[in-house]
């Protein structure tokens, strides 16, 4: 293989994104679904950083997008875990199949 370029890094981020999608589709547990979402967000961050480094080295915009995505992902994870804990208290389970109290 030759020099590591943008394409190699895009391959990694694509693989990570679809691993996250697979986890989101197959898992039934809320915490593991949250972990799959974290993987998806991280693959987006890798894309932003790689494009910033290899194509737009005169700007820092991709880096700022990454910083804001990390911030919002942290807030999202905190709120999601608060909801999961509340759901566990009322249902004694965090399986998505059991969380049907808002149905109908």
């Amino acid at each position: 293989m030759n020099e590591i370029g943008l394409t190699h890094i895009l391959f990694i981020s694509t693989a990570l994104f679809f691993i996250g999608v697979y986890g989101f589709l197959t898992r039934k547990n809320l915490i593991t679904m949250l972990m799959a979402i974290e993987l998806i967000l991280n693959s987006v961050n890798i894309n932003f950083i790689a494009f910033n480094k290899y194509l737009y080295a005169d700007k820092l915009d991709g880096l700022f997008f990454t910083i804001f995505i990390i911030t919002i992902a942290a807030a999202e994870a905190a709120v999601a875990i608060a909801i999961i804990i509340h759901l566990y208290r009322s249902l004694k389970s965090i399986d998505v199949d059991d969380a049907d109290i808002m149905k109908f």
Partner: protein
């Protein structure tokens, strides 16, 4: 193959392997630990690309914050060591097929597309140093990020209050029907 490529492939193997194990492991605590390795691999990739500040933020926020939060919530909601139910076969099969085909299509696009950097960008690189990041982050001129910075601080405050309100335990008898307090 140069040493740089070897390091890159090791990092890639850690990221992808950790990710696959994180979504397929049936013990939830192990899944969280594999996620930790995957996120550390991503931080290593940022170091490899010379984005030290983002790598540090990745380690502090993801590894030190989010994964610890996830592990604590696992301890609060699971008997540790329990195995999760095996997912239904047809769901695994069709999810796997869908993601593999989508990934193959994306790979096709990436290999076909020729990424050409702008000449100006190569001649005038801006180092992603903490000084440059800080100056542009708090700049009020064009291309400054002070407005998103302030908005995101409000979002974090809202998330903080929201978490407390959602997860708080109401003591004593409440008017809510059983199971909703």
């Amino acid at each position: 193959m140069s040493a740089s490529s070897v390091i890159f492939y090791i990092i890639a193997a850690v990221i992808i392997g950790g990710g696959i194990l994180a979504v397929t492991s049936r013990k939830i605590f192990r899944a969280a630990v594999y996620l930790l390795f995957s996120l550390l691999g991503i931080a290593a990739l940022y170091f490899y690309l010379n984005y030290e500040f983002i790598a540090a933020v990745q380690i502090v926020v993801y590894v030190g914050g989010i994964v610890v939060l996830i592990i604590f919530s696992i301890f609060l909601t699971h008997a540790s060591g329990d195995e999760m139910k095996r997912p239904v076969l047809w769901r695994t099969l069709f999810s796997g097929l869908a993601t593999i085909f989508a990934a193959a299509l994306t790979y096709l696009f990436i290999t076909d597309h020729n990424f050409v950097p702008v000449g100006y960008a190569l001649d005038h690189p801006v180092a992603p140093s903490v000084k440059n990041i800080g100056l542009q982050m708090l700049s009020t001129t064009e291309h400054g990020y002070i407005l998103p910075f302030e908005v995101v601080s409000m979002l974090l405050l809202a998330a903080l209050i929201g978490c407390i309100v959602i997860a708080i335990k109401i003591k004593g008898p409440t008017n809510l029907p059983k199971g909703e307090a």
